[in-house]
Symmetry: C2
Subunit: 240 residues, 2 copies
DNA sequence: CGATCGCTTCGGCGGATCCCGAACCGTCCG
DNA sequence: CGGACGGTTCGGGATCCGCCGAAGCGATCG
């Protein structure tokens, strides 16, 4: 952007917007966000193939130009496309670049796996994560608020029986239970010590398994049966 | 394009295409071409607000990337958008830039005037220019070929009677008659000494009049009557 | 509390871009 | 033929951008 001196409050020009996309690192970040999910700065750095510092600069520019929205969560910074207009614009550019129809995958296989169940650092997200939170809420075993959650007496009994050291968790330094907004489902799932412990227990039971090079987790046959028996959760092809 | 080292034969990346648009001069040229007309390098230089040399460089890049097509005509170089995909891409970018619907004029008033009748250097183009060429061809008074045209015996008599010094024109050094592709109509109109003389005659008769700051010409009431009587031409709102 | 982690800011280097003045070439005109 | 004109090529100068190393900051974890 050699010429856009005082962008100030005036509407950005065509060239300004195009110049933002006209950088391989930024273009990679934008296409990585094309499916509507929110990704952390680190994930975007990986997708773009540049260092975290460079990434931070790019993301700041994209956010200032209102192409991206920023949500901070703990020490993570989540970025997502600011509007469907951005996606349409990128499709238009891709069509010209490829001289054909857009070829990104709105729902690739890997993407579908991520939407079904994935780790969100140390707890579960995706349809599985949301379903667990929903079930525990519906049963009155967990009460979720805006900034935190609490386990009821009934919930404590149930979860202890499931193998979670509820008392220890509650006395730990880490936030016991808090909601974490799920970007593919746009609804909260369980985070905090409780979310991490529950996830850990599912791994230990062999109900879910990690995969290489992705945050998606696989649900085993035993896991399907167990989730249905313990939580009444069935993740069909159509989702939660 | 700091990074696009060997573009070679591979399909251009999103960033490459966007970077081409991400320059104010090039963006201005592209938007000037949005209505589908072909413009000369000089006209595009004016639209972009940069020098002819700079313009030439930009146009070369855009043509190499297949965003523009180049047609040479005499000493003029006509550039136009390579495909409707380019227009759609620009609309998409404009929508993001303006955060609203695209606001260029696919058919503005001035544009409509230009399509009806305009000068193409010293001869007539637009619907009027094409209609004159069509009529003279249909009557067998002018025979148009690929690279040149000729006036028949009947045509010479008619045009001489109309006030054109056909014999003098034919003996002049300037190409007597040649077709000139019309970019709004995509069909040929009359150029060369004959086209210039005919246009000059119409100005002298007061049938057509120049306007300020545009190549569009106005057809007077007398002109409408005369054109209908002499050539059977009526330019309604719907065109030729 | 100290250590780690994720993200951001700061500073400087290297390189590419953009632009125009000058010159060149082909076309058109008298 | 000579001049004018439109377009392009060549060369250099100013600018800016993208990138990373080093350091700072807040949140999290043991």
């Amino acid at each position: 952007m050699t010429y856009f001196s005082g962008m100030s409050a005036t509407a950005p020009s065509i060239a300004e917007v195009a110049a933002l996309v006209g950088n391989p690192a930024r273009a990679n970040m934008l296409t990585a966000l094309l499916d509507g999910r929110a990704l952390t700065a680190g994930e975007l750095a990986h997708a773009a193939g540049v260092s975290p510092q460079t990434t931070s600069g790019h993301l700041a520019k994209l956010a200032e130009a209102r192409l991206l929205l920023l949500s901070k969560q703990g020490r993570h910074a989540y970025y997502r496309l600011a509007s469907p207009l951005i996606g349409r614009m990128l499709e238009g550019i891709m069509a010209v670049a490829a001289d054909g129809p857009p070829r990104y995958r709105p729902r690739s296989r890997g993407d579908e796996a991520l939407r079904t169940a994935r780790t969100c650092y140390d707890h579960l997200a995706g349809r599985l994560g949301v379903a667990l939170a929903d079930t525990l809420s519906a049963r009155g075993q967990v009460e979720m608020g805006e900034d935190g959650g609490e386990v009821t007496e009934d919930g404590a009994a149930f979860l202890t029986d499931f193998g979670l050291p509820i008392t220890d968790l509650r006395n730990g330094r880490r936030t016991f239970c808090r909601p974490c907004l799920d970007w593919s489902e746009r609804r909260p799932h369980l985070a905090g010590a409780l979310g991490a412990a529950l996830t850990d227990r599912l791994f230990t039971l062999g109900w879910i398994m990690r995969q290489r090079d992705t945050r998606a987790v696989l649900i085993s046959a035993k896991g399907r049966a167990g989730l249905k028996a313990a939580f009444g959760i069935e993740l069909g092809a159509d989702g939660a």
